[in-house]
């Protein structure tokens, strides 16, 4: 089990749990990011933060501090 914030571009993973501030968790859920979903890390911004991920046809930009609360299982 690892945090989403630790993954490198190109990595795929399955989401195990989403934790963090309630507003953040709810927003991630609304985007469809919750347990059992598969995600792919696409890119890191120039200063290493935020990260770009894709789930299905949705692409999201997440700050590392936000991605730290998402635990994943790399595929």
């Amino acid at each position: 089990m690892r945090a989403l914030s630790e993954l490198r571009p190109g990595a795929r993973a399955e989401v195990l749990a989403v934790t963090g501030e309630s507003g953040l968790v709810q927003r991630l859920h609304e985007f469809g990011l919750f347990e059992g979903e598969e995600i792919e890390v696409l890119a890191l911004a120039p200063l290493g933060d935020p990260i770009e991920i894709r789930l299905g046809n949705t692409r999201l930009s997440l700050r590392k501090s936000e991605a730290a609360g998402v635990s994943v299982r790399p595929l």
Partner: protein, 751 residues
């Protein structure tokens, strides 16, 4: 008959769904912006007729969910529930969804079903879905969801007639009872809470109260009912967690489960997701190196265009203004009315219109960047940098634009959804060194830091003055975010939408809307400020003997003309020119100076001189600074009047292409400032320090009525412009104080 009644339809959808495109396609040109007191959101309303019926269409701000977390988000929910006094409850809710991303978009649609109003689903971008091999059976989807589902292509106007027919049919039908089924434990808690609230809280809001931890409804109801309700809420959520359906996960699981089973039955997707254009483009555009490089090029182009492309248009507007002023000046008799029309109104209108080219070019860029999906990438690339001053990547473009001019920059903050971030960005945008400061800098650097200095000094000082803004703005932003605008960390998760070709029509529409909004809402305030300062410089308009100055000036002008004829004749015949003839040619400018010095503003300058003294200023400099309230560059013209060199055009300062007469006047002002200061013991000795103090003041102050007017327009409150003006003036005063005192010490030390 229901047919005579106007049908109210609310348009709801995620951002980047083509919602605005659909809105524009349906309502055409009959649109207006609806205002909602107390919040910064604007909603557009359009009215149109179809099949003999009149429809009021309300375009709600794009949202991912009805879980409101701020007053701005709550407006949309209240409007849908008919809880806003300004608008009737919608008869039909039109939900627009993206065909390429049905699951996520139907999530919001499933929340709309809970409102208890008829819902119609418009599946947009059906062509893009087909290109990806996604086949949607709308009839089957409609059966599963219990609402009409109409495929459309908003950008091509395909399917709109069917859509409107479905809306009319829905308006006369009973809302479908089909919707996601929540676990029994959850419904039990809702029932208990509803008994508690009774009729005070609609069922929809009771659900949101239980579901949205830390949400707007929670704050509102707990603030109203206090600790007893808080205890109930906590234990209800506790029981739900124990029952295995914790909030907010229970909602997403239930809704996505329902939506996905419907989609699975009605949609055929390729087993392997095809590589899309967006995939390919993002590999480059969000790449650490290439993405950054392309971003810098895009920003450079945008910046250049605000500066350069706008210039011919701005010059043209200025030219027309000057011609109009001249024509009216000669057509009208001298007097207060002529002064009001020529120097107050014409100048005021001109100074409003002159912003239009920059605003429209910037909004053209923003519209293209947003429509094609690049704006979110720009925010992604710049987020880390901006997070250092407590902001997010979305603040980058507004602040960069403010280097050209804060007015379009502040309007560009509309892309920032978070209210506190947006306010902080607005507050610091005027600190970015805008182009109106340049004439002040060039004038004073030319007068004091050119002759007798190495050739690199003027450029270095100019660079330093620009750096003041670039360093102070982030610091102030950080300070504001830590104090006045402190609050819970907002969610920075941002969607990076699929790339799309921007539609020229919508870009043009955005440009004209931005321009129009500026002229109507900010223009009136700017005009008022211009007229006020004109009046303060005009009155009293008679000398001690009661003769109006304009009469004396008219006479002196005549005499000056005759005198210069005589001088010409004398010079040609090689004779000496008597002094009184020379004096006569300078008399009109001297009289004008005397008039301004005697004006209300001149007297205010004199009265405030003790406050200006620590900055090394005399009352004349102070008065010119006061008079520049409408716009910074006005100080150049005012200094010209006070120093008896006549009206100087600020654009001629440092501009080698200006015409000879304007250049001569500009050079005359540089010399006059230098001469006047050299006569005074303080400014004679510490000329450089005074010049620095004045320049630092203008780097930091908010002497710009247009900026304040546009802040008022964007924040819908006088509080924020008042705050901006106050903090920047205090900052400018302290900066100028420091500059003069340090400069004086250095001058003394160097000897």
């Amino acid at each position: 008959m229901i047919l005579t009644k106007t049908l109210t339809v609310a348009l709801v959808g995620n951002p980047n769904t083509g919602k605005s495109t659909l809105f524009n396609a349906l309502s055409g040109l009959r649109q207006r912006v609806g205002n909602f007191p107390g919040v910064t959101v604007e909603m557009k309303k359009g009215q149109f007729s179809a099949e003999g019926k009149t429809i009021d269409l309300i375009d709600l701000p794009g949202t991912y969910s009805l879980a409101a977390r701020s007053p701005d988000e709550m407006v949309a929910v209240d409007l849908l529930l008919g809880r806003r006094p300004e608008e009737p409850r919608p008869d039909v809710v039109l939900s627009i969804v993206d065909a390429t991303n049905l699951d996520r978009h139907l999530y919001l649609m499933s929340q709309l079903l809970d409102l208890g109003e008829p819902v119609v689903v418009a599946v947009n971008m059906i062509d893009a879905a087909e290109a990806q091999g996604i086949k949607i059976d709308c009839t089957k989807l409609s059966e599963r969801l219990g609402v009409p589902v109409i495929p459309i292509q908003a950008n091509k106007g395909v399917g709109l007639r069917d859509l409107m027919r479905a809306v009319f049919a829905a308006a006369e039908s009973v809302p479908s009872p089909q919707r996601p089924v929540f676990p029994e434990a959850f419904e039990k808690e809702i029932a208990a809470l509803q008994t508690e609230f009774g009729n005070e809280v609609p069922g929809f809001l009771t659900r949101r109260f239980l579901l949205d931890v830390g949400g707007y409804i929670e704050h509102w109801l707990l603030g109203k009912h206090g600790d007893k309700l808080r205890q109930k809420l906590i234990s209800a959520r506790q029981r739900l967690t124990e029952a295995g359906c914790a909030v907010p996960a229970v909602e997403t699981r239930t809704r996505f489960g329902w939506v996905r089973s419907a989609v699975a039955a009605a949609v055929v997707k390729p087993t392997v997701r095809p590589v899309t254009w967006t995939d390919k483009l993002d590999r480059i555009l969000t790449h650490r190196f290439w993405g950054t490089l392309i971003f810098l090029v895009v920003m450079f182009l945008m910046f250049q265009s605000i500066f350069l492309w706008a210039k011919p248009a701005m010059d043209a507007i200025d030219g027309v203004r000057e011609k109009a002023a001249k024509a009216l000046e000669s057509a009208m008799a001298p007097g207060p009315l002529q002064g009001l029309v020529v120097d107050g109104i014409i100048k005021g209108v001109g100074s409003v219109l002159v912003f239009l080219p920059q605003i429209m070019i910037l909004f053209g860029f923003i519209a293209v960047l947003e429509d094609c999906g690049y704006m979110a990438r720009a925010a992604f690339l710049m987020d880390r940098l901006m997070s250092r001053c407590g902001l997010s990547g979305k603040s980058f473009i507004p602040l960069l634009s403010s280097v050209a001019c804060a007015v379009p920059g502040i309007m560009a903050t509309r892309v920032i959804e978070n209210r506190r971030d947006r306010l902080a960005t607005i507050m610091v945008a005027p600190l970015m060194s805008c182009s109106a400061r340049l004439p002040v800098y060039v004038l004073l650097i030319g007068a004091f830091l050119k002759e007798g200095y190495s050739s690199w000094v003027p450029g270095f000082v100019l660079f330093g003055l620009y750096m003041i803004g670039f360093t102070v703005a982030p610091l102030v932003a950080l300070l504001l975010k830590r104090t006045l605008l402190k609050g819970a960390t907002p969610v920075f998760v941002m969607e990076l939408p699929a790339y799309r070709r921007p539609a020229i029509r919508s870009v043009l529409r955005r440009m004209s809307e931005a321009g129009w909004a500026f002229v109507v809402r900010a223009g009136t305030i700017i005009l008022a400020a211009m007229i006020l300062v004109w009046a303060l410089l005009y009155f009293p308009h008679t000398d001690a003997a009661g003769t109006p100055y304009y009469e004396r000036i008219e006479k002196a002008d005549q005499e000056a003309k005759e005198a210069s004829e005589k001088i010409k004749g004398l010079k040609e015949s090689g004779q000496e020119v008597p002094e009184e003839l020379e004096a006569a040619t300078a008399e009109p400018d001297r009289l004008n100076g005397e008039w301004k010095r005697n004006s209300l503003l001149g007297r205010a300058g004199l009265f405030l001189e003790p406050a200006f003294r620590p900055l090394g200023w005399d009352w004349k400099i102070g008065m010119a600074a006061l008079a520049s309230f409408p716009a910074r560059e006005v100080i150049v013209g005012t200094l010209g009047l006070i120093y008896d060199v006549g009206d100087v055009d600020s654009k001629a300062i440092g501009d080698d292409t200006a015409d000879e007469e304007a250049k001569e006047k500009a050079a005359g002002l540089t010399k006059a400032v230098k001469d006047d200061w050299s006569k005074d013991p303080v400014r004679g000795k510490y000329g450089v320090a005074v010049a620095m103090s004045l320049m630092v003041f203008f780097a930091l102050c908010c002497q710009c009525a247009s900026t304040l007017a546009v802040i008022r327009r964007e924040t819908k409150s006088w509080l924020w412009p008042a705050f901006t003006f106050t903090y920047m003036t205090v900052l400018a005063y302290l900066g100028a104080l420091l500059a003069f005192q340090l400069g004086a010490i250095i001058t003394d030390a160097v000897g």
